[in-house]
Amino acid sequence: MAAVPTTATAATGAAAPGRAGWLRGRYLTVIVLAAWVALWALLRGRDTLALGGAELTPLHTRLSEGMDAIDAGRNSNPLFLYFINYIRLFIDESVTFVQALISRPSFGRPVPVIGWLGVTGIATAVALLYGNRRTALLTAAGFASFGLLGLWEESMDTLALTLTAVVLALAVGIPLGVWAGLSDRVNRFLTPVLDFMQTMPTFVYLAPLTLFFLIGPASGTVATMIYATPPVIRITAHGIREIPVSTLEASTSLGSTRAQALRKVRLPLAKRTIIVGANQTIMAALSMVTIAALIDAPGLGKTVLKALQTLDVGTAFNAGLAIVIMAIVLDRVTSAAGRRVEAERRSGRARGTRARRIEAGLVLAATAVLVYLSHVYVWAAEFPGGAGLGSYVKQGAGAASQWAQDTLVTYTDALKNLITYGLLNPFQSLLAGSPWWLVALVVVALALLLAGARAAIVAGVSLVLLVLLGLWHDSMVTLATTLVATLIVMVLGVVAGVWMGRSARVDQVLRPVLDAGQTMPAFVYLVPILGLFGATRFTAIIAAVAFAAPVSIKLVAEAVRGVSPTAVEAATAGGSSTWQLIAKVQLPMARAGITLAASQGLIYVLSMVVIGGLVGAGALGYDVVAGFSQYQLRGKGLAAGLAIVVLGIMLDRIMRAAAQRAAARPAPH
């Protein structure tokens, strides 16, 4: 152990011994890996703790029974009677109310209170008043397309759920964010909680939530809030915190009270940042609302899910398209609102000018007329013409998918086989085929070598937990898939990231694509990928890569761009070739950022594990999905969800500690 520098010495940057220790660590790492392979060859297949698909351990049964007990206590347990049931009622009523307004027949009418024309009018007016003309046009076109695709009601359900969740998330998140921005103590308390909420794969808490809030809108909304509130809390706190000290000091030196400083300085200055936070929350909410279809939340997600289960690529694509359109509209409107706040401040235009008031009045009047029409006339209430465009889209997408499968099959199969046989299978048999104690030893040793004693302890505890959960074998299979996906993500991340970081033009082209990739709800990727590769482990890997790569690419690009221009200039002046520049200057100097990209990539990949289970990945993802649908497997599903969380915490801690070490270590020259 003497070879491993403690975190403290590494952090103080004791250059020479730290570096020597690091090199020694590297040799030891190679030795550990070699020993693993050798022992695997000898002990293959022993103590692998494999568990069949329908097999249960006593723990799983107990979990099931525990869940039954909670179910049974719904109407007798005081926690339910006086607390949870009220929350559920409140949320259900809120969602139902919004649905009654825009999506469902209500109040004895055959149609919702506001029909398509009214909703489109309101949305357009909001875009016009808070954004600009272009976003208003986009909004009108977007909403019309929901009708044209034949998905008006589903879209409105999704919108209703999203809006309710967003309003609740903001009502909770903004005050909490302000509080965390003002108080270090609150911030210290909230940060790990938010970390946990964000790193925990979303599917994991879906099933337990239904225990408390039943299947339906309330569970969906709560799940969405859990997923969507952290961004607005974090970003609001950041906005409140990042206000220049000098500005606050000036205000204090004039004798502001704390309340005055908050109202007159902090909040106005943080306004734009808070809107950015709201934008993030809206996007996160939309993507979660789609996923909440798994627990029967209404809307477009359900359409996609049904289509996925029947492998109906056309229908899934059609609904996916509507989701993407909604994402784009919501994103553009909130971004434009943020920019408008800034622009108004810069141009120094007061809010209440006459022209603006007249414009607002006209827009509101026109909207009122449209809402009235849609309330009274059927043609303005129900989208006319049926799903004209939708059926073409379905047919077209179905045909395109079929064609692609038929024509590209040689290439896609080659790729699939290359990755599966070249990388995935060996890796999986190494991880899942070794005795569990051997894998555990190797992981702890590696954590110790790469990330230090604390990470090694976390790893050890996590591995024991995985054994106790009775899902060791499945966890190892999932780990193999996850690591392979992360490897691909990082290869993509480094190649594209370096390219982007070095060339402004590439950045310009790639960035919008990556942005779209990030804002698109995860479900949507599955459709075309499933069409191309069928339901296999490889499909799950590709979906995870598609989800995680944009983040990693962006982070690597950011890190490469962050390399001091002087260093690059000096190296260029010294006659470095492009490759030398990349290999000897830019990549080494961007090491900390690249490590961060890897750890983020891994977390993103892990959060797709359950989605992978939907498209053939098996293992933990499948266990969770099966837990949703089969009563007797729900205990196992819960255990699998916990196993995913444990895996995530373990990998996250190891990566983070390793990243900190990389950052503390002086760059090689």
Binding site: S251, T252, G255, K264, P268, R345
Partner: protein, 392 residues
């Protein structure tokens, strides 16, 4: 500790001669220690350690170490030091933007450090004003609202505060920019807004924390002259932080030099230049042309027997540079006269010695008598005569 090194060479540290009025601001034994358990340092042997030793032993940084001084009403008091010397912390301790670790700060008879939160706010709202290095303006408010901010938070009615804000904007030469936003103005203009904001509440003491460091040299000089003009017009007590020696010499009635958190020397500009307290200050002022700062008492000598005493007369507060022409063209000793009494004479030899360096044959210390002689009759803005010289 720096205080003991202040020997008879320079004036006593706190109360300058001739200051009979009680000081408006009186600071005694002020300490600010940052770090874990900072309150355990002052008053223990730890306090005697050097900054680096203290940092190593306790992890604490002593930003201000046992500083005492007092500021007279209407005076421009400059605190000068390099970055890290603790001068910005010192000024923040005075208004408790940073809470001092130990010591005493009195404004007139009030114990500033003993004030409750509410009383402190009252002081800040009515008696203190502060101008910051990075302006600290509110970007989302118009210039007019920025200037009126101090009045707004103390509850002045809208019309009244706007009226006052317009007045002050006029005073700092920004009339016509009321409706602009800060980021539409140049750095110099933004700092004028900062100045106007501080002046708007009509404070008794104005604190300047390196207000012109972020400005380019020409604008800086313009703003320095602006401060001198405002000081003449409104006569506020000003405490001015700077790292720029020429700025200190130009503006200060008295200068306090800090190093590593402690006071090194305090005195009038000519005392600092003519009689540096130690090598640190000497090194600091070595580039300053002495003839631009020192007054005649620093170089005059007693008339020798038989010397003609019918030459021109000059006042003792005349700067050497301004006296040079008279002395060189007089052809006989020039008398330094105050209130009819002959203080001494100055001849070509003395002038040349200051400008061209000491004559190797007659090297002698000119300071001993100078230190006791220069007798500033009240605050003497030595620097104001040198506005137009091109030094920066």
């Amino acid at each position: 500790m720096a205080a003991p090194s202040l020997t008879a060479k320079s004036s006593p540290p706190a109360t300058a001669p001739g200051a009979d009025d009680p000081p408006i601001l009186d600071v005694r034994g002020l300490w600010k220690v940052f770090g874990p358990r900072a309150d355990r340092v002052v008053g223990t042997p730890l306090a005697e350690l050097s900054r680096t030793e203290l940092k190593q032993r306790t992890g604490c940084v002593a930003a201000v170490r046992d500083v005492s001084f007092s500021v007279r009403r209407g005076e421009v008091f400059v605190v000068m030091g390099l970055s890290g010397s603790g001068k910005s912390t010192l000024v923040r301790c005075l208004t408790r933007l940073v809470e001092p670790t130990a010591g005493q700060v009195r404004l007139d008879d009030e114990d500033v450090l003993g004030c409750g939160e509410r009383r402190l706010r009252e002081l800040r709202r009515h008696r203190f004003g502060m101008v910051f290095q990075h302006f600290g303006l509110l970007p989302h408010r118009r210039v007019l609202d920025n200037v009126a901010y101090g009045l707004e938070i103390r509850g002045t009615k809208k019309d009244d505060r706007y009226e006052r804000a317009r007045e002050v904007l006029e005073l700092v030469g920004l009339a016509g920019f009321e409706g602009s936003f800060p980021d539409q103005l140049s750095g110099g203009m933004q700092q004028r807004v900062g100045l106007a904001r501080a002046l708007a509440v009509d404070p008794e003491v104005l604190f300047f924390d390196e207000p012109f460091s972020a400005l380019d040299p020409l604008i800086r000089r313009e703003m320095q002259n602006e401060v001198i003009r405002l000081h003449r017009e409104v006569g506020k007590t000003m405490i001015f932080i700077t790292h720029d020696l020429s700025e200190a010499l130009k503006l200060g009635d008295r200068i306090l030099i800090m190093r590593d958190g402690a006071l090194v020397q305090m005195g009038t500009p000519d005392q600092v230049v003519g009689a540096p307290a130690d090598d640190y200050v000497r090194d600091f002022v070595s580039d300053v042309p002495k003839s631009d700062v020192l007054t005649l008492p620093w170089i005059m000598r007693d008339p020798r027997p038989g010397e003609p005493l019918d030459g021109p007369e000059l006042a003792p507060d005349t700067v050497i540079r301004d006296a040079a022409r008279t002395v060189l063209s007089a052809g006989r000793p020039v008398k330094v006269v105050s209130g009819g009494a002959l203080l001494g004479v100055v001849t070509t030899a003395e002038i040349l010695e200051v400008i061209a360096g000491p004559d190797p044959d007659t090297t002698q210390d000119t300071t001993p008598d100078a230190a006791s002689d220069p007798d500033p009759d009240g605050p003497d803005p030595v620097a104001t005569d040198r506005d137009e010289d091109g030094r920066s």
